[in-house]
């Protein structure tokens, strides 16, 4: 119920390609779905997040697609660049005054964008 499953584990694309990372969750009480980007030796940084009342959100080259009925969401990186090479984590949480808001993370996807 608390798991978030992420795939693929690793991904290699050419510059300009569109890597897609997928996540699936089980707990329908989750109401906040962020993606974090982590570079080696650094802490994760929030990239983009979505609430379940919308099906898509775009911020720059990053897009989240959300399918509430399938309990799945994905990250698309348009026109990927070598600087996007990092590890990406999806997460889910239940916000609200009666919840801690703790994030349940996927296992991570290591992305390499080749020049």
């Amino acid at each position: 119920q608390q798991q978030v499953k992420q795939s693929p584990q690793s991904l290699i694309v050419q510059k300009g390609g569109i890597p897609i990372i997928n996540c699936a969750y089980e707990n329908t009480a989750f109401d906040y779905f962020p993606w974090y980007q982590q570079f080696p030796g650094k802490g994760p940084a929030l990239l983009i997040a979505i609430r379940p009342d919308v099906s898509e959100k775009k911020e720059g080259r990053f897009t989240i697609s959300f399918n509430k009925s399938a309990k799945q969401f994905s990250l698309h990186i348009m026109d990927s660049q070598p600087g996007d090479s990092a590890t990406y984590f999806c997460a889910a949480s239940k916000r609200g005054s009666s919840n801690t808001g703790k994030l349940i993370f996927g296992q991570g996807t290591t992305l390499q964008v080749k020049p």
Binding site: A91, R95, S97, K102, G108
Partner: protein
């Protein structure tokens, strides 16, 4: 400071010793989280503090792990009688509140190596 500060950045300790890891959250952030990131793994929730409320300790893996937060600001994670399986990166995050803010800001982590 401008971000979440963790110290030390690296810690090597002998099996059986106790260690203390420190987290300085962003000023004004009332919610504080500890996560553990093992090699090649996702982030595992450990403990959550929110203001003066009782902490959510549901993620602590054993009674060798404990944490406190003094004055609603600085937090210390203590691991007693360290074991080799405790080797990981310990990440601290803070947010304005689990209710009011979606974004959790992470520190750079403390890399703990138990030899």
């Amino acid at each position: 400071g401008a971000g979440v500060s963790q110290s030390p950045s690296n810690k090597v300790t002998e099996k059986g010793k106790d260690v203390e890891l420190r987290c300085d959250p962003i000023s004004g952030h009332t919610a504080l989280y500890w996560y553990r990131q093992s090699l090649g793994q996702g982030l595992e929730f450990l403990i959550y503090f929110q203001g003066n409320s009782a902490p959510d300790k549901s993620g602590l893996p054993s009674d060798r792990f404990s944490a406190e937060r003094t004055g609603g600001s600085v937090s210390t994670l203590t691991i007693q009688r360290t074991q080799q399986e405790d080797s990981a990166v310990y990440l601290c995050a803070s947010s304005l509140a689990a209710v009011a803010s979606f974004e959790a800001f992470f520190g750079q982590g403390t890399r703990l190596t138990v030899v």
